[in-house]
Structures are given as structure tokens and as C-alpha cells.
């Protein structure tokens, strides 16, 4: 079953034509149950707006969507009881302790106290649960937000930039929690502007740019498969020229690491034989895994500069 389906979902902020912003522009894609889905895009591309519409804090101005198969105001209200979500920053009462904050969330979700302790345990906040939220570090705040989303043991977990502002250690912890949840069979939909993060944690992805979906699919499809090879030789120019004329190569391009060629068949021996025949001796030949970043660059072109900056 579909966990989420979007059909031409649209949001325009403001009504005056001069000042209005088309934040999300007729986007459509689907998230299947059990997927860890990465919703990737640069700052201001419409990620938060899209998630806001899913969780019911932002009114769409066009299109429609389903959550866990449900649609319409009544159906969505009921479905949201089976969803856990955060939007942008962790939103809590600063003067209240972590535990008291979860008590409020639990009251909203109709969940009992024992579950609060379980969730605190899972995110490693049990020790600090009695301290006030405003004394928490950013990483602790993010983890409390994760604990809050899990209170009702949701089938679908929607996270808006869960790794935002965290150091590598914090990111690793969040990734670990997400992995545990995925192992328990939860569907996870997370937004991020970090390509590497999506590549590591997600099974599927969609890329949004300026409010439009520019690519979506399985991470393995674009990253894992294919018979791309990375080649290096003393004379890169000659290597590139030779590969251009190699009949089995469907594409050839230069990268910082060397020459990347996509081959019709996965036959490395023929490549070496062919190049040796041209008087070129390889110093390096290995299968090449393109990163999501490269896919991203391929599909977005225009935003390359800003994105590589963000991704690095």
C-alpha cells in the first residue's frame, strides 16, 4: 500500500500576485509502505512547505494527497493518529522538562506514561528527562523531537531535516535511531539538504527544486547498478580521447578522480586490451559507483553550484 501519495500538490503563499510565492508547484510522487524515503532539496525548495501540508498545518492551494491511504479532512485526521511528525525545528515548551513536554504530546495522542519512558530510553534522554527543555543542547532537542514522534508507535514517521545543525556524532545517532525504526518496519519520510545523508539512510528519494520534483526513484537504481568504471592513466587527455572512440562506451566524462565511462557490457578485460592497443597503460581501473550527488547534478544543472556547496 502507499504510505503517501501526492497528486499535483501545490502551495502558493500570499494572494496578491505581485508578492505571492509559489513554494510547491504541482508535485506528484508516492512513498510505499516500508520505504525509507529521502526528500531532498536545497534551502527554500519547498520541503518544509510540502511536509506542512501533509501534517495539516499548511493548507494546500491545489492538488491533493493521501496519508496511509486516507484522504479528505475526516480521513486525514484519523490517519494522522497513525503518523508521527516533526516540522523544522523541535517545537517544545521551553520552561517544561523533556518528560513534561512528552506528557503534553502523549495527552494529545492519547498515550500512557509507560510509553513516554520507553521513547525517552530509545533516544537516550532518560537521564536528562527532568531537566527543562531550554537547557537542552540542539542534539538533545532533536532527539526529544524524535521521541515525541514515536510516542504513538506510528506506522509512518515524517521528519523535517532531523540532522539539521548536528555534528557528525549527532548525525550518526539520529541515523542509528532511523535505522532501528526502519528495521521495525516503519515507513520513514525524511527531508534533507544533505545528499550524502539521504544516500546513506534512504532506500528511495525524490529531489525537489524550486517547488518542482526533478527526479524520484530508488537510491539503488541510480547509485548501485550500472557498469560505470573509473579509469586513470598518466596522460588523462589521451585516455579521455581513447575512451571517446571506444565503441563499447556509452558515455565518457571527466571527474576529479579520473575518467568515468559507462560501458555497455561489464567487460574490464576488453577495456584494458583496447587501451593497451592504443599505447595507453592504466594506473587505475575500478567499477565506479556514481553518488546521488552526481545524479542530482545531472538532473538539476542550474542549481549545481549552490548544491555542491551544501553537499560538501
Amino acid at each position: 500500500m502507499h504510505a503517501i501519495q501526492l497528486f499535483d500538490l501545490t502551495k502558493r503563499y500570499g494572494t496578491s500576485t505581485a508578492k505571492s510565492v509559489l513554494a510547491v508547484d504541482r508535485i506528484s510522487f508516492a512513498v510505499e509502505e516500508g520505504q525509507v524515503f529521502g526528500f531532498l532539496g536545497p534551502n527554500g525548495s519547498g520541503k518544509t512547505t510540502t511536509i506542512g501540508m501533509l501534517v495539516g498545518t499548511i493548507k494546500p492551494t491545489g492538488g491533493r494527497f493521501t496519508l496511509l491511504g486516507a484522504s479528505g479532512p475526516k480521513g486525514l485526521m484519523a490517519a494522522r493518529a497513525r503518523v508521527g511528525a516533526t516540522l523544522e525545528t523541535p517545537n517544545f515548551y521551553p520552561h517544561m522538562s523533556g518528560r513534561d513536554n512528552l506528557l503534553v504530546a502523549a495527552a494529545v495522542k492519547g498515550v500512557g506514561r509507560p510509553r513516554i519512558e520507553e521513547c525517552l530510553e530509545l533516544v537516550g534522554l532518560s537521564d536528562r528527562a527532568k531537566h527543562r527543555f531550554k537547557t537542552y543542547s540542539l542534539g538533545m532537542k532533536q532527539r526529544l523531537a524524535l521521541a515525541a514522534t514515536m510516542l504513538n508507535d506510528p506506522e509512518l514517521i515524517i521528519l523535517d531535516e532531523p540532522a539539521n545543525g548536528l555534528d557528525p556524532q549527532g548525525i550518526r545517532e539520529i541515523r542509528e535511531i532511523i535505522r532501528i525504526l526502519a528495521d521495525r518496519g516503519k515507513t520513514i519520510f525524511l527531508s534533507s539538504h544533505l545528499l550524502a545523508e539521504v544516500e546513506r539512510t534512504c532506500s528511495h528519494f525524490a529531489i525537489i527544486r524550486q517547488g518542482r520534483i526533478v527526479a524520484w526513484g530508488a537510491v539503488a537504481e541510480v547509485v548501485g547498478e550500472g557498469s560505470a568504471v573509473l579509469l586513470r592513466a598518466e596522460d588523462t587527455e589521451a585516455l579521455a580521447g581513447a575512451m571517446q572512440t571506444y565503441p563499447e562506451a556509452t558515455s565518457v566524462r571527466r571527474t576529479d578522480e579520473g575518467i568515468v565511462a559507462t560501458l555497455e557490457a561489464d567487460d574490464l578485460a576488453s577495456v584494458t586490451r583496447y587501451l593497451a592497443g592504443q599505447g595507453i597503460y592504466l594506473s587505475h581501473l575500478a567499477p565506479y559507483r556514481p553518488s546521488l550527488e552526481e545524479v542530482f547534478i545531472d538532473v538539476t544543472q542550474g542549481a549545481v553550484d549552490s548544491m555542491t556547496e551544501i553537499a560538501s
Partner: protein
């Protein structure tokens, strides 16, 4: 019905942890108790000075209506507006509360504050009577006292719902408080100006919210015998008699204004993104 319980529980959890709540309720209790404390001390010192219910009601309710509505308005702003700056209103909705229910919780909070303030005034009245050596007259709560107490409730509701509306419309406690204060300061000035004007303006101005509030909080509007006394003295001195709108009219007007404020807040809440 279950929803009501859930909303009350949520508002309770949020409110009791706020220092502003306890400070405001404490301050209201202290200010309301001051005349009672003085009354009791006077009665203990001088047997001719009596202080007990029901005769002490106007004193206590007068003190309560003097500052209660102001505290109710400020408290509503301090309890509601931060929900928008902290984005906890948004989180509540994400967690499964509809925007309408979130708002319903705040209306219940307002009702709770009104009841709490009235209960505080009643406790002070009863406490003062118990501590005072005097004996009160017949009955504990005369119809006129009940009317004044209703006036207190409606004043609290009126300013409290104005505070709720400002919080929901402005979504930030600083500016919302600013506008409430401005209104309270300007109120006096406008009443002064209008009372000098004549004819239709003066008559229509009687129904402005600040005038309704003013009259609801005035003991003379609720105790006709006292008003008759006062006016007799004024006539003796060649002064114009004081007039008040009927209590029923005041009540309807206060309820109408509260309904308008609460309705505007509801529509804004439903319409706008969080």
C-alpha cells in the same frame, strides 16, 4: 465528551508549569484581598465598623473588577501567544489536535480563568467574614451581589476574550500586550472625550466595549438603592444625576463583544497556516 477531558488535561499541564500564571493569580488575589484585610482590621479595632458578607460584597467585587479583567487579558496573552512563537501550537496540530480543537482548548482555558478568579473573590469574601468579628445581614448572596458577581464574570470574559483574540491574530505576546495596554490607557481618555460630546455620539458611545466594561465593573450599576442615595446627594449639591445602562443591556453587550472577539479568533485560527 472525551475530547473535552483531553483538552482540559492538556491546558492544565501547560498552564500549571507557567510562572506567569501563578504570579498573575497571586497578584489578583492580593489586590482583591487588600480591602478585605483592611475591613477586617477595622472591624476588630472598632465595633461600630462592621465587615461581613453580604455587606462586604461590593467592596470585594469592586476590588476584583478593578484589576481582574486586566489580569485576565494579560494572562490570556501570556498563555496563548507564546504557543505561536514557540511553534507548539503547530506541534500540537502535528501531534493530532485539529486547529479547531486547539482553539477550543484555549476557550476552555479562558472559562477556567474566569471561574478561578471568581472563586478567588468568593474565597476572600468568605475568609474575611470568618475572620471578622462582625455579623452580616440577612443572606449570604443578595440578588444585587449576584448581579455584581455576574458583572465581574462578564468583564473577565470580555477582556479575556480580547486577549485571546489579540494572541491569535498577532501571534506574539509583546505586540499583543502593547495593543491591550494601549487600549486600556486610551479607554479612559476616550470615555472622557465622549462624555463631553452630546447627542447621538454620546448615546452610541455608551455601547462601546470600554464603556460596557466600565459600567459592568461599577457597583452603582448593580446596587440601585446605593445609586439612588448617591444621586439624591448629588441633586442636593446641584449636580447632575448619574445614569447607568440596565444590567441586562450591559450583559448582552458584553456577551456580544466577547462572541465577536472569540469568533474573529476562531476564523483566523481556522484560516491561517501554522
Amino acid at each position: 465528551m472525551k475530547v473535552v477531558g483531553v483538552l482540559l488535561r492538556i491546558e492544565w499541564l501547560k498552564t500549571v508549569k507557567r510562572r506567569a500564571f501563578w504570579v498573575a493569580v497571586g497578584a489578583f488575589a492580593v489586590f482583591t484581598a487588600i480591602p478585605a484585610v483592611e475591613g477586617v482590621r477595622g472591624a476588630r479595632r472598632n465595633p461600630n465598623l462592621s465587615y461581613a458578607l453580604p455587606e462586604s460584597w461590593p467592596d470585594i467585587l469592586g476590588a476584583a473588577t478593578g484589576i481582574g479583567p486586566f489580569f485576565a487579558g494579560v494572562l490570556m496573552i501570556l498563555l496563548v501567544a507564546p504557543e505561536f512563537t514557540w511553534r507548539t501550537a503547530r506541534q500540537n496540530v502535528i501531534d493530532g489536535l485539529s486547529k479547531e480543537r486547539f482553539y477550543a482548548g484555549k476557550v476552555m482555558l479562558l472559562a477556567g480563568l474566569v471561574l478561578l478568579f471568581i472563586a478567588t473573590a468568593v474565597l476572600i469574601g468568605v475568609g474575611g467574614t470568618l475572620l471578622s468579628p462582625s455579623e452580616g445581614g440577612l443572606g449570604i448572596l443578595r440578588p444585587t451581589d449576584l448581579s455584581y458577581m455576574g458583572g465581574l464574570a462578564l468583564s473577565l470574559l470580555l477582556v479575556g476574550s480580547a486577549g485571546l483574540m489579540l494572541s491569535v491574530l498577532i501571534r506574539s505576546s509583546g505586540p499583543a500586550l502593547g495593543i491591550l495596554f494601549l487600549y486600556l490607557i486610551v479607554e479612559e481618555a476616550i470615555i472622557g472625550l465622549i462624555s463631553q460630546a452630546g447627542g447621538a455620539l454620546r448615546r452610541s458611545a455608551e455601547y462601546f466595549p470600554f464603556n460596557i466594561l466600565d459600567q459592568l465593573g461599577d457597583d452603582l450599576a448593580h446596587y440601585p438603592e446605593v445609586l439612588a442615595d448617591v444621586n439624591a446627594k448629588r441633586t442636593e449639591r446641584g449636580l447632575e444625576s448619574w445614569e447607568f445602562l440596565d444590567v441586562e443591556v450591559l450583559a448582552v453587550a458584553a456577551l456580544a463583544y466577547s462572541a465577536i472577539f472569540l469568533g474573529a479568533a476562531f476564523l483566523s485560527m481556522r484560516q491561517r497556516d501554522l
